[in-house]
Structures are given as structure tokens and as C-alpha cells.
Symmetry: C2
Subunit: 188 residues, 2 copies
């Protein structure tokens, strides 16, 4: 691979919110999961579990829980249209195992960010969209019941995976000079 | 780019802890920063600032602060050998701007994880090592003074960047079956 191609892939990845009614081949899903599997994590603890949700009823229920919590009318297309939802679960036992002096939330959540980014890049490479979907705290209990998730896991996010059913829109970023400093922040 | 090559890159990336005394070309550093720049973040808020630390005295001081806090003898090679350290700062004003009902820590820290993962993949592609280095909470004040970092930023991590001065070691991962579930966690 060439670094230019890698950068292009990173720039081309985008957040899909409406998906085609078209299945994702098992082989492609496996590639995406395998990409996530190899992400780094604090102490290589891999403090995550993933629940692949393909069941139509469960997907509708996720959409309903989310839409109700956010005060939306009807079920959010963001959760009803993708053929696959992926609940990202965090093992709170790993988070709670760090000494008080370490920023345990940061370690665990940034690790999950690395893992999801690997999956997103692989999805983009395969022409698929994989998008973040943060869950409000008040739906934790309902989601856990729906997916039979044990007490020690929390579900901060439900990803959406599928083929895009919308035109790619452009998304801007800060310039490097706006967030990169040299040796000191104040004197820049 | 081909998905096999992308997966290979993800598998080949590793955590370097000892670095050669060899400068990183400006052009390579820019490519790594540019990769980070295009990462996704919650609401595209890009809640990060980066401080590139090349100054020898400041790098030694970072090593000293870290080693003292961790009760290590001498200065940690992990921070003295790399030619570049990158302090990852988080804008706490972004984190504090979310409604109570949203998991703000998760959104902000997972976004930073995505950004760093992009940088790590680009570094690996260029034959460089870029490694996480979480900072204990008690050194926040000293680090902020050293780098003139304003009150609203926190510094959970200082990355290390350079060419490896050690053999690559292998690192294992859980099998997919160990952390991937289907439609429900309990019934798997």
C-alpha cells in the first residue's frame, strides 16, 4: 500500500445515515470485524464486545428505543435502514481495574475509538458505510434487556453498517495550524 | 488500495518502546498529522489539540515527570529515545458542552482514539513507530506548565514517534468468537 492511497481512504470515509435495502455479504462483515480485532488497546486488554444485530425486529426495536429517547417522531431511518447494527459494548470491569491515578475512561474509550476506526476504514475500502451512533444514558437498561447483555457491559454506541443510499456529502476539517502546536501552546 | 493490504497494515502496526536517534523528516510528520486531521469525531467537533515536542530539554523533562510519577529509576527510555513526542490534548469545553444524558467522555475520548489510530496507521505505513503513552492524573499540572497549556485543555496521553530501535515482537488478539455475538450476548 502507498501512503497516498491510505490518506485518500481516510479522507473518503464518510458518515452514512441512510442505507440501501441490500445485504452485506458475510465475507465483507468478517473483514470489517477482523480489522477491528487488530486494533491496539491499553495493555492489549481489548475491553470490548460486539453484538451484530441482523434480526429485523431487534433492529426496529433499537430504532424505536433511540427515537423515543431523543424525542423523534417515528423510527429513526438511521437505525431502520441499515441491514446490520453493531452494538459496541465496553467491559466496565476492565475500566474499573485501573488504579485511581490513571485516566481509566480515557484508556478504555480511546481504545474503542481505535477499534471502530479500523472497522470504519475497512468498511470504506469495501464501499460500505459504517457510522457512529452514540446512545443516550437513559436507554442503557432497555438496550441491555433487548440484547440480553450482562450487567458488567455498557453500550455507549450502536454502529450502523450497510451500502449508502444517499449521495456522499463533503465534510471539512480544521487546518493543521489550527490544532498543531510546536513545543508549547501559548507561544505559537 | 486493496483490503488485504489494509488488513496487513493493521496487523503489522506495533507498539515501539525504544527508538533510534534518527530524525523524522518533516514531510513524514506532516503526513501523519494529516491522517489524524481527517479522522471522524462526534459532531465533527475535532475536540483535540496536538503539541509536537522536539526540544531536547522538554523531552527530557517529560521523561523525568513521567518516571518520577511512576516510581521508575532514571528517565524512561520510552520518552527519552524518540526524537518527537506528541502531547494529545483534549478540549474539556467540548466535553462539557454535551447534555448530561449523553456519554460525553465516551464521545470525546473515542474520537481521540479514532484520530490517533489514523496517525498510527500512517506512521506504520511509513516505517515509523507511533505509540500510546497514557499520563497519570497527578502529572497534569507539571505537563501544563512545561508546555504552556491553557486551563481548558487536559493531556491524557503523550505519544512517542520515531524509527524503531528494537525487533518487532508479536502480539496476540482474542479470536472473533471470543468477543463477537449475534443478536444477543447471552444465547451465544
Amino acid at each position: 500500500m502507498i501512503d497516498d492511497e491510505l490518506l485518500e481512504l481516510m479522507k473518503e470515509r464518510w458518515t452514512v445515515r441512510k442505507f440501501l435495502d441490500r445485504d452485506v455479504p458475510e465475507e465483507e462483515l468478517d473483514k470489517i470485524l477482523e480489522a477491528g480485532r487488530w486494533a491496539p488497546s491499553g495493555g492489549n486488554k481489548q475491553p470490548w464486545e460486539l453484538v451484530i444485530i441482523k434480526d429485523r425486529e431487534k433492529r426496529d426495536k433499537v430504532a424505536e428505543i433511540y427515537s423515543e429517547a431523543m424525542g423523534l417522531k417515528g423510527r429513526s431511518k438511521r437505525y431502520t435502514t441499515p441491514p446490520i447494527l453493531i452494538a459496541v459494548c465496553i467491559d466496565t470491569r476492565v475500566r474499573d481495574s485501573y488504579p485511581d491515578e490513571m485516566p481509566a475512561d480515557f484508556i478504555v474509550y480511546a481504545s474503542v475509538g481505535s477499534m471502530v476506526q479500523n472497522m470504519m476504514l475497512m468498511a470504506a475500502e469495501l464501499g460500505l458505510g459504517l457510522s457512529w451512533g452514540t446512545q443516550p444514558k437513559r436507554v442503557q437498561k432497555e438496550l441491555k434487556e433487548l440484547l440480553d447483555i450482562p450487567e458488567h457491559l455498557e453500550i455507549p454506541d450502536i454502529l450502523q453498517l450497510g451500502y449508502p443510499d444517499q449521495e456522499r456529502y463533503s465534510s471539512s476539517r480544521k487546518e493543521l495550524d489550527d490544532f498543531v502546536h510546536h513545543d508549547s501552546v501559548m507561544v505559537d
